[in-house]
Structures are given as C-alpha cells and as structure tokens.
C-alpha cells in the first residue's frame, strides 16, 4: 500500500513538472502553431543557471531560483525575436526546422561550455517532510504539485479575464484580423513566449529539486514528454495540459513500479501514438475544421 502511495506521489510530482512545461508548449502552439522544440532546452539552461549561481558564485539558493526563472524568460523571448519572428510568413515546415535547429544549438553549446557530463545541482528548496495518515511525503513533492496547480489557475485567469489574455486568444484565433482590430501581434506573441518560458523556468527549478542534475541533453526528453502530455490533454487547452501531465507522470511511475523502467520512454511514446491515432485533438482539445 505504501509503495503504491509513494509511487503515486512520485508520478504526481513528475507529472506536475511535465504539466508546467506542457502549458508552455500548449500556449506557443496555440498562438503561432509552432511546435517549439527548443522549449525543453530552455529548462536545461535554467538548470545550468541555477547550478552556476549556487556552485560557482556561491550565492543563496533563493537568488538562484530567481535568476534561473529570469534567464529562461529572457531566453524564450530572445529566441522568438531572433529565430521565429523572421519566419512568420514562411511555411510551417521551415519554422519547425528552425525550432529543431535552436534546440540543437542550445544543447551543443551547453555541451561545449560545460562538457557532456552531468553537474550536480545542490538542493535549492528544502523543507520538512509531511506526514499524512502515517505516510511520508517529501516537501518538494507537495510544493511541486501546489505550484503547478496555482500556475494553472493563475494562467486560466490571465487568459480568460485580462486584456492581454483577450489579445492572446484573438491572435491565436486569427492573426490578421487581430492586427486589424488594433492588437499588437508582435508584443502579444512575445508576451506568450515570456509566460511560457517563465513557466519552463519554474519547471526547471522544480525539476532540479526532484532530479538534482544538469546535463546538456536533459531538456530534449523532458520537452518531448511534456509535448506528449500537451497532445494527450489537448493542445491549446491549459487544464488539458495539466491532466495530460499528470497522466504521463503516473503512467511512468506505474511502469517503473512494475520493474520495466527501461521501457518508460517507449510507453510514453506508445501513449502518444495511440492518442494521435484515435483522438488527435486530445482529451480536452476542440475539433478544428480545416478551411480551404
């Protein structure tokens, strides 16, 4: 019983991280229909920033958390401005290849700078373990789950109730018409990238609490799994990304628990393939009719 419970908590913890990253994917996909391959690598940069600040500069962890989130946000906006905005009118394929290129650029630059080996990130957040009904739950696990739920509620509010959220929804509906209505499309897209990347930054901090390592290729698999979560939940839907993230996290935990952890990645992609074949719009996604 306790094993099942602890695996469930593990699954929810990694699921929350996937969900945070998946929201970023989902938002970017919703607004410019780009599968932002570089999103996972932004997390990698965040982890390296935290490592640099704590280990190399020996500054307090609180500062490391703030700097990691700020660095991720800036990086996301810069990538959008430099690489994606010149291609706004280009074919989707070119945009996608550019995103892959950026992802590889970040990975290989990190490898060149820090080496291929993993760096140990010291614990950024520590706290007492919680006791619920005789079961121990790590502090970071609870924190991760709470942060991701709060982030989801906050974002839903941002998108539904604020002026910027309205602009975001308008741009994702029809970029040209939104522009005619006086919405600054470029700044709206930049804002979307900033929010998505900030979430990735938070994700990277929480990830390094769960798996205290920074490695050049850590982002690609993390990013892909988060994308799977976004697709599973229905791309463009924030609660969907949340549900998808939890589902993937728990599925992974189950596969590991029954002793098949080497098949973990295979199972995640198998879930993706089954979802894509039978319900390409995901659990919460809306059906989009194609216009000629």
């Amino acid at each position: 019983m306790s094993l099942v419970f602890s695996q469930l908590i593990n699954g929810l913890q990694s699921g929350s991280i996937y969900a945070l990253i998946a929201i970023g994917y989902s938002m970017v996909y919703g607004i410019i229909l780009l599968l932002n391959f570089a999103h996972g690598d932004i997390i990698m940069v965040g982890a390296y920033v935290a490592w640099l600040v704590v280990v190399n500069l020996s500054l307090p962890p609180a500062l490391a958390i703030a700097l990691a989130i700020i660095a991720c946000t800036l990086l996301g906006v810069v990538i959008e401005k430099v690489a994606y905005s010149p291609l706004r009118k280009a074919p989707r394929l070119s945009l996608l290849i550019t995103a892959i290129g950026i992802s590889f650029l970040l990975e290989n630059l990190a490898q060149l700078k820090f080496g291929a080996g993993a760096k140990n990130v010291p614990a950024l957040i520590t706290g007492p373990a919680l006791d619920i009904g005789g079961q121990h739950i790590g502090f970071t696990a609870v924190l991760t789950i709470i942060v991701s739920v709060v982030a989801m509620i906050g974002l839903t509010f941002l998108i539904r109730k604020t002026k910027m959220g309205k602009a975001m929804r308008a741009v994702s509906e029809d970029m040209g018409t939104a522009q005619l209505m006086g919405i600054n499309v470029n700044s709206t897209i930049s804002f979307t990238f900033a929010v998505g990347s900030a979430l990735a930054g938070i994700g990277s901090v929480l990830y390094s609490c769960a798996y205290p390592q920074a490695a050049p290729t850590m982002g690609s698999m993390l990013g892909l799994k988060a994308f799977v979560a976004a697709v599973l939940g229905g791309i463009g839907s924030i609660p969907g990304a949340m549900i998808g993230g939890f589902a993937i996290g728990i599925a992974e935990a189950i596969v590991s628990a029954i002793g098949l952890s080497v098949w973990k990645d295979g199972v995640v992609f198998a879930i993706l393939i089954i979802v894509l074949i039978f319900k390409p719009t995901g659990i919460m996604g809306k059906k989009i009719n194609e216009k000629v």
Partner: protein, 350 residues
C-alpha cells in the same frame, strides 16, 4: 507554356548518364583495389555513399512530399539490424550481401507502411512528432528486446558485433546510383507529379482526384526502403551495430543534409550528403564544434533561404549539354530540356 526543347534524344540521355556513372565507378574501383586510395579513405568514401542514400531518400519524403518525418534513423536501424542478422547467419556466399540489403530495405519499407498509414493521416507537426516517437520506440525495443524474449538477437546496448564487413565502394555506389535513378524516375512520372502536387497543396490535389493517402504512403515507403538499404550498407561498413547510433540525433543529421542541400533538390542532397560526411573526417579537430555549426547553419539557412541552398534546382548533365550544343550552333535558345523546365517552373511559382 513550357516548351521542351531537348536536343539530345531520350534513350541517348540515359546512355550518357549511365556510361559516365559506370566510368566513375570503374576509375574509383581500380584506384581502391589498386591501393592508390587507402583502406581508411575507401571506408570514408563508402560512408559518404551511405549518407547520400540517406539524404536522397529523406528528400523524397521531406522535399518532394512536403512531410517532416523525424524517424529516418529508425528505418535505417531496422534495415541495418535485418541485414546484419542475415549476413551473420549466412556469411560467405557472394549473393548474401545484396540479398541482405534487399531484405533490410523490404523490412524497413514494411515498417514504413506500418508507421506511414497512421502517421500520414496527421499533418505537419503531429506527423513529425509521431515519427519521432516511432523512431524512439524502435531504439528502445532494439535496446531491450533481448531481455524480454530471452534470446540473443540484437544484444542490446552491448551492440551486435562481428558483422562481416562486406560493404565495398562498388556495392555502395551501385546502390547510390539505383537510389537516385529510382527516385528520379518516380519523380519524373505522373506518380511523381501527384506527389509534388500534395506538397504544393494537399486539398487542391485531393480535389483534382489524386488519391493523397496512396501517394503519401508511396513516397513514405520508398523513402523508408532506401533508408533500410543504407542501414544494411552501414552495418557492413562499420561491422558493429549499437542502437544508440540510430537515435534522434542521427535523424536530425540526415535532415540537416536535406535542408541544407535544398528541399526538393536531389543534386543538393547528394552534394550536402557528401560534403557534410567528408568534412568532419577531413577536419578531425572540428568534430567538437560539428553539431554546434550544424545547428547554427540549420537556423541561419532557414531564416535567410527557407528552401535550402540549392532550392529546388536540379543539375542535369544533358540539360547542360543541350545548352552547349545550342551555343555552338549559334542558336539563341535559352537552354534546353530540364533546365528550361526548372527555370520556367521557378518563375511560375513566384
């Protein structure tokens, strides 16, 4: 109107290409068997040929069909393991290797059908991510299948070793020739035009009565087949197979070749496949920066020339000869054959 002004008659055009290609094979082969080109460099030349097959076959799916499969290395892996197992089981006979290559290609094509039918229902990014997923699954399966089934087939992470090193320059480049010829011929036929029309506008193509599912699967399967053949050649060239060699990184490497050369240009794929394989071999110190430069180049090319360096331009020797003959005759024709076709099509697109 496109006026086709071919001066050299049709059978002769093929003959010229075949004779020149045969001469190239003969000269290189004598140099290698004679020992002028060392064993190390002949291995490099073979790996150039393998890269060319991979790039040209991916170009079929990306450049001509307009899809973005990110699991090309997965097909290569399937072909490589199939060929390697056959070669190990029946080594020695002269006919084993070609048969093993064919089997590798066929099994890869089978996987192409299996993956293609569900994948091609989806569009763009979804297709990319689905093929990526399949590529990853193939890798995970190759790594772990032995533990599950309990016998020694792929030998997991330790790698499949002691594969007879039967890949020679001649076999590789005959395969390169066949790949280019088959894909070129398909693309010049009505099937090829159907495939191109899907790239240009799938909905319009469908409304013109083109069976888009059929042609997408066809393009995909041809692409997978040749990737499988390339995998078999790779197995025979290296002599050891490890699943990690066929990861996402490899798929991207092949994609870079296609994108850089120009999506939809076979000449571009051949050129960049050759150059990008030869460069790291020649500049050993460069290896550290290779992937950084690759990714930078990919981004820069996409931003400034989204169609790749060659665009859709294809080199045609006979087109060039036509031009030359016209020039000698003093005619003021603006070129001949395919060159005219390509130029006019280019203008029509703009």
């Amino acid at each position: 109107m496109i006026k086709k002004s071919t001066i050299i008659p049709m059978p002769l055009r093929y003959l010229i290409n075949i004779v020149l290609f045969a001469a190239f094979l003969f000269v290189m082969n004598t140099l290698i068997t004679g020992g002028t080109i060392s064993k190390y460099y002949s291995g490099v030349i073979s790996s150039i040929g393998i890269s060319i097959i991979l790039a040209v076959s991916l170009n079929m799916a990306t450049g001509y069909l307009g899809q973005l499969p990110l699991g090309h290395a997965g097909f290569m892996a399937v072909g490589a393991y199939t060929s390697a197992l056959i070669m190990k089981a029946a080594a020695g006979s002269l006919i084993t290797f070609p048969l093993a290559l064919l089997a590798g290609g066929l099994v890869a094509a089978l996987f192409g059908i299996l993956i293609g039918i569900p994948a091609l229902k989806l569009k763009g990014d979804y297709l990319a991510i689905l093929t990526l997923g399949f590529g990853q699954i193939i890798m995970v399966v190759l790594l772990n299948i032995d533990d599950v089934l309990g016998f020694k087939l792929t030998r997991g992470a330790a790698g499949l070793q002691k594969i007879p090193k039967t890949t020679t320059f001649l076999i590789t480049f005959i395969c390169v020739g066949i790949t280019c010829f088959v894909i070129h011929t398909i693309m010049k036929s009505r099937h090829g035009r159907a495939i191109l029309s899907i790239r240009e506008n799938e909905i319009a193509a469908e409304s013109c009565g083109i069976n888009t599912t059929y042609y997408k699967t066809l393009g995909f399967v041809v692409s997978a087949f040749f990737a499988g053949v390339a995998g078999g050649l790779y197995a025979g060239n290296i002599g050891i197979l490890n699943p990690s060699a066929f990861g996402f990184m490899k798929s991207i490497e092949i994609l870079v070749m296609v994108v850089l050369g120009g999506m939809g240009s076979m000449f571009g794929s051949v050129l960049s496949g050759g150059v990008l394989t030869a460069l790291p071999e020649l500049l050993r110190d460069f290896d550290k920066y290779r992937m950084v430069v690759y990714s930078l180049v990919l981004v820069v090319v996409m931003i400034f020339k989204p169609t790749g360096l060659m665009g859709t331009y294809d080199f045609s020797l006979n087109g060039l000869l036509d031009k030359l003959i016209l020039r000698l005759k003093g005619g003021k024709g603006d070129g001949g054959g395919k060159a005219v076709l390509v130029e006019k099509e280019g203008k029509a697109n703009e």
